[in-house]
C-alpha cells in the first residue's frame, strides 16, 4: 500500500516538471519589453540569459575579467562603475600588476567608491591614484570580509551601535548580500527600517529605492531586485560556479522562482505575487472544493437512483433535465442568475457580489457565516451544476455496468437484501471510476471559477487575473497558470490515491492508473 502511494507520488514529479515547462512556454512567449536587454523590465524576465544551458554564465568576477580582457585587446571595456565598492577587493590588489590601459580602466571604475571609503585627509594626502588605492586597500583589507559585514549588519539590526550604519555605508555594495539576507529575519519595524535605509543609501539607482523606506512593499521589492541582480554583485563560489551553467538560465531562474516561491512582484499593485496567489487562491480553491463536494454528494445518489430505476420516470426526467443543463453554458446561467435573483436588476434575493456584507463586519460569527453562505450560494450553484450532471451520468453508467455483473446476480440469488446488495456490491465497485473522474473535474472547476468570480465579483484568482490581463502583468499570469495546473495535478493525484485506497484490484496490479 505504502509502496503504491510512493510510486504514485514519484510519477507526479515528471508531471510537475511538465507543468513548469508549460508555464515557462508562456513566459517565453512574452514579447520583450522596450529598452533593450539591459533594461530593468527585460532583466526581471531574465531575457539576458540563455534559455536552458549557459555556456559561460556571468557573475561579477567573470564581468571584470571580460572587461580587463577587452582592454588588453584594445577594445572599449564596459563601464562597471555602478557596481560600486564590490569592485574594490577584486581590482585593488591587482592594480599594480595590470598593464597600463587596464590600469586606467580599473582606476576609473574604482573612482566612484573613493569618496566613501577614504577620509578627507587620505583623499588629499595621496600621491597618484594608484598609490592611493594600494594604500587604501592595505589599510581596509580586513573590512572587506563577509564575517565583518555580517557582524555590522547584526549590530545594525540590534540598533545598539550608531557606527554600524556608517561603516556599512563605507563598505558600499559589498554589504548588499548580508543586508538583503537581513530582510528575511523576523525583526521589528525599526530594525527593518534601518536595514532598508542603508540599502537605499547603498544603491540609490535600484528601482526599490524609489518606493521609500516606509512602504510595506519595499522588503519584497528589494528581495526581488536582489534575485535578479545578484550576479552583478557576487563572485560565485566553486560549487555555484559549476551549477550556474543550468541555474543562470531563463528556465533555471523560473524553477528557482517556483521553488523559493519568489514569483516576482505584480505589475498591478506592486505586491508580491506569491502572497497574493495564496490569499486569492484560497478563495478560488474553497469555491471549487465546495462546488466539487456539492456535485459529488448529489451526483452519487442521483446516478444510482437513475440506474436502479432505469428507464423509469425519474430516469427519463433526470436524463432530459440533465441534457438541458449540460448544454447550458455557465456564462449564460451566471448572467441570468445575477439578473434574476441577485438584484441586478431583478429580485434581490441574494447579494450581487463579494463575499461579505460590509455592514455585518462586527456581527457575531454565526451571523457572518450565514452571510458568507448567502453570498456563496449562487456562485457555487452555477459552478457546480455542470459537474453534477457529468458525475451523475458517470455514476449511472458505472452502476449499470456493475448491476449486470454475475456477482450481483449471485448476491441477489442467495437472498442478500437489496439495500445491502446496493451498498456493498454495487456502490463499492461503481464508485472508484467516478472518484477518478471527480479528480479530473478539479482543473475544469478552477477554470470555470475564473468566470464565476468575475461575474459575481468574488475576490479570487479569477478577478485578479482579469485585472492582470488588462495590465499585461506577465509575472502574475505565468504564476497563476502554473499554480492552477499544480492544483489540477493534486486533484488528479487525490482521485487516484482514493481509488487505490478503496479498490484492492489497483493495489494488486501495482499501479494507480489503468
Amino acid at each position: 500500500m505504502l509502496r503504491l502511494i510512493l510510486r504514485r507520488l514519484l510519477v507526479v514529479v515528471p508531471t510537475l516538471v511538465g507543468v513548469t515547462l508549460v508555464s515557462f512556454a508562456l513566459l517565453v512567449l512574452a514579447p520583450p519589453p522596450g529598452g533593450g536587454l539591459a533594461s530593468e523590465a527585460s532583466r526581471s524576465l531574465f531575457l539576458d540569459l540563455p534559455t536552458f544551458v549557459s555556456a559561460d554564465p556571468r557573475d561579477l568576477a567573470r564581468d571584470v575579467d571580460a572587461a580587463l580582457g577587452a582592454t588588453a585587446r584594445g577594445l572599449p571595456a564596459p563601464d562597471l562603475g555602478v557596481r560600486g565598492a564590490v569592485l574594490v577587493p577584486l581590482l585593488a590588489p591587482r592594480l599594480a600588476a595590470l598593464p597600463a590601459p587596464a590600469q586606467r580602466w580599473a582606476l576609473k571604475q574604482l573612482g566612484p567608491s573613493a569618496g566613501r571609503l577614504a577620509t578627507e585627509a587620505e583623499l588629499v594626502g595621496a600621491g597618484d591614484d594608484l598609490e592611493f588605492w594600494v594604500e587604501l586597500y592595505e589599510s581596509r583589507r580586513l573590512d572587506f570580509r563577509p564575517s565583518h559585514v555580517r557582524r555590522l549588519v547584526r549590530r545594525l539590526r540590534a540598533g545598539r551601535s550608531r557606527h554600524a550604519a556608517e561603516q556599512l555605508r563605507v563598505l558600499g555594495t559589498y554589504a548588499l548580500p548580508e543586508l538583503v539576507a537581513a530582510l528575511d529575519e523576523e525583526d521589528g519595524a525599526d530594525a527593518r527600517q534601518r536595514v532598508l535605509t542603508v540599502l537605499t543609501d547603498l544603491s540609490p539607482d535600484a528601482p526599490p529605492a524609489r518606493l521609500g523606506v516606509l512602504d510595506a512593499r519595499a522588503p519584497e521589492a528589494w528581495r526581488e531586485w536582489w534575485f535578479v541582480h545578484r550576479p552583478d554583485f557576487v563572485v560565485f563560489g566553486p560549487i555555484e560556479r559549476s551549477l550556474s551553467a543550468v541555474t543562470e538560465t531563463r528556465y533555471g531562474k523560473w524553477i528557482a522562482r517556483l521553488l523559493t516561491l519568489r514569483l516576482g512582484t505584480s505589475a498591478v499593485d506592486g505586491e508580491a505575487v506569491a502572497g497574493k496567489l495564496v490569499s486569492r487562491g484560497a478563495v478560488t480553491v474553497a469555491l471549487a472544493t465546495l462546488a466539487a463536494a456539492l456535485a459529488f454528494v448529489l451526483a452519487v445518489p442521483l446516478g444510482t437512483l437513475t440506474a436502479v430505476r432505469r428507464d423509469g420516470f425519474a430516469d427519463r426526467l433526470v436524463g432530459a433535465l440533465g441534457f438541458v443543463l449540460y448544454s447550458l453554458p455557465v456564462v449564460w446561467v451566471g448572467t441570468l442568475l445575477l439578473r434574476a435573483v441577485c438584484g441586478a436588476p431583478g429580485l434581490a434575493l441574494f447579494p450581487a457580489g463579494g463575499l461579505f456584507d460590509p455592514a455585518l463586519a462586527s456581527a457575531s460569527l454565526p451571523t457572518r457565516l450565514v452571510d458568507l453562505a448567502w453570498h456563496l450560494a449562487m456562485p457555487v450553484l452555477s459552478l457546480a451544476y455542470p459537474s453534477l450532471i457529468v458525475l451523475s451520468r458517470h455514476q449511472r453508467s458505472a452502476v449499470l455496468n456493475v448491476i449486470r455483473s454475475d456477482y450481483v446476480r449471485t448476491a441477489r440469488a442467495k437472498g442478500v437484501p437489496e439495500h445491502r446488495v446496493l451498498r456493498e456490491h454495487v456502490l463499492r465497485n461503481a464508485l472508484p471510476p467516478v472518484v477518478t473522474l471527480a479528480g479530473l473535474e478539479v482543473p475544469l472547476l478552477v477554470g470555470t471559477s475564473v468566470l464565476v468570480e468575475e461575474l459575481f465579483a468574488i475576490p479570487g484568482l479569477g478577478r485578479e487575473t482579469v485585472a492582470a490581463v488588462a495590465a499585461r502583468d506577465v509575472a502574475w499570469l505565468v504564476a497563476v497558470t502554473a499554480a492552477a495546473a499544480i492544483v489540477g495535478v493534486i486533484g488528479l493525484l487525490f482521485g487516484d490515491l482514493f481509488v487505490a485506497l478503496v479498490d484492492p484490484r489497483t493495489r494488486r496490479a501495482g499501479g494507480g492508473r489503468r
Binding site: 507543468v19 458517470h394 482543473p443 468575475e454 487575473t465 490581463v469 499570469l477 505565468v478 489540477g488
Partner: protein, 319 residues
C-alpha cells in the same frame, strides 16, 4: 491467398464498409434527437453562409432599443440589431468551433493512436504530456496568453483550445487502439503479413475512431462557449467580427437591457445543445450493442447515456 482473388476481395471489403457507414447514418437519422440536432446545425450553417444576404449588423443611432417590430430582438449598445448580430455571430462561432475541433480530433487521434499502438517510451512520454495538459485550465490558459502576448484574435482562442484539449480524444483513442491492437482481427492481419503500419491504418484505426467522432461535435460546442466566456472576461470583440459572447457581455454593462442577456445566451445554448445532440446520437449509432437494438420495426433505443467502454469518458472539454 492467390493474387487474383484480391480485387474481388477488396471490392467486397469496400462494399461492406460502405454498407456499414450507410447503416450508421441510417441508424443516426432514425432517432428524433439526432434529427433535431442535425437540423439545428443545418440552420447554423445556412445562417452563416447567407448572413450577408439576410441582415446587416451596422451600427446606428438607435441605441439599446427594446424588442419591437422594427428590431425584433432589440438593439445593442452600439445601435446594432441584435437579431442581425446573432445571424452574423454564427460565422465566428462556427469558425472557432471548426478550427478547434479539427485540431482536437487531428492531434488527438494521431497522437493517441501512435501512443497506444507503438507503446514503449513514446507512450510513456505522451501519457505524461496528456496528464500535464489535462491539469491546465483552458480558460485560464487562454486568458494568460492574451495578457502576455497582448493579442486576441478569434483563431488564437481556437488554436490554444486545440493545443490544450486534444488530450481527451487522445486518451480515449489510445484506449480503443490498445483494445483493437490486442484483438483477434489485428492478430489475423498481422499473420497475413501486413506491416505494423498497415495493420494500424487499415484495421486498428478504423475500429478505434468512434470516440473521436463522438468528441468532435462536443469540442465544437465547448470551444464556442470558451470563446463567449472570454468575451465576458473582457476580451475585446475582434475588428470586423460579430460574436455572441461580446453581445452577451454587453448585458453586464447595460443592466436594463434584458434582451442582451437573454437572446445571445439562448443562441449559445441552442447551438451547444445541437452539437451535444448530434454527439450523443453519433455515440449511440456507433455503439454496436445499441445498433443491434435499433433494427427496423423496433423502438429506438431508449437507454440514453448507457455507457459502453467508449462512452465512459465523455468529458466535455470546456463549459
Amino acid at each position: 491467398m492467390r493474387l487474383s482473388e484480391r480485387p474481388s476481395q477488396i471490392a467486397g471489403f469496400v462494399r461492406a464498409r460502405i454498407r456499414q457507414r450507410a447503416g450508421t447514418l441510417r441508424v443516426l437519422w432514425r432517432t428524433r434527437r439526432a434529427r433535431v440536432g442535425i437540423a439545428g446545425l443545418g440552420v447554423l450553417l445556412v445562417l452563416a453562409l447567407l448572413a450577408d444576404v439576410l441582415a446587416s449588423p451596422a451600427p446606428s443611432l438607435r441605441v439599446l432599443e427594446a424588442p419591437s417590430l422594427a428590431h425584433w430582438l432589440g438593439t445593442d449598445g452600439r445601435g446594432r440589431d441584435v437579431l442581425a448580430c446573432l445571424v452574423h455571430g454564427t460565422r465566428a462561432g462556427l469558425s472557432v468551433g471548426l478550427v478547434s475541433a479539427a485540431l482536437v480530433v487531428g492531434a488527438g487521434v494521431a497522437l493517441g493512436a501512435v501512443s497506444g499502438f507503438y507503446g514503449g517510451r513514446l507512450d510513456t512520454f505522451l501519457t505524461r504530456t496528456i496528464e500535464v495538459l489535462l491539469s491546465v485550465p483552458t480558460i485560464l490558459a487562454v486568458l494568460a496568453l492574451r495578457g502576455i502576448t497582448g493579442q486576441s484574435g478569434l483563431l488564437d482562442v481556437a488554436v490554444v483550445f486545440g493545443v490544450l484539449r486534444w488530450t481527451d480524444v487522445a486518451r480515449m483513442t489510445r484506449a480503443e487502439v490498445l483494445r483493437a491492437r490486442n484483438s483477434d482481427f489485428a492478430l489475423a492481419a498481422h499473420a497475413l503479413g501486413l506491416t505494423p503500419r498497415q495493420v494500424l491504418w487499415r484495421h486498428v484505426l478504423p475500429d478505434a475512431v468512434s470516440p473521436a467522432v463522438v468528441a468532435a461535435p462536443i469540442a465544437m460546442g465547448a470551444a464556442i462557449v470558451v470563446d463567449a466566456s472570454l468575451a465576458m472576461l473582457g476580451a475585446p470583440e475582434p475588428a470586423g467580427v460579430v460574436t455572441w459572447g461580446a453581445l452577451l457581455a454587453g448585458a453586464r454593462l447595460h443592466k436594463d437591457a434584458w434582451w442582451l442577456a437573454v437572446f445571445p445566451g439562448f443562441a449559445l445554448f441552442a447551438s451547444v445543445a445541437s452539437f451535444n445532440l448530434v454527439s450523443e446520437s453519433l455515440r449511440d449509432a456507433l455503439d454496436p450493442h445499441l445498433r443491434a437494438m435499433a433494427v427496423p420495426g423496433t423502438e429506438t433505443p431508449r437507454s440514453r447515456g448507457v455507457a459502453g467502454p467508449t462512452t465512459r469518458s465523455q468529458d466535455r472539454v470546456g463549459r
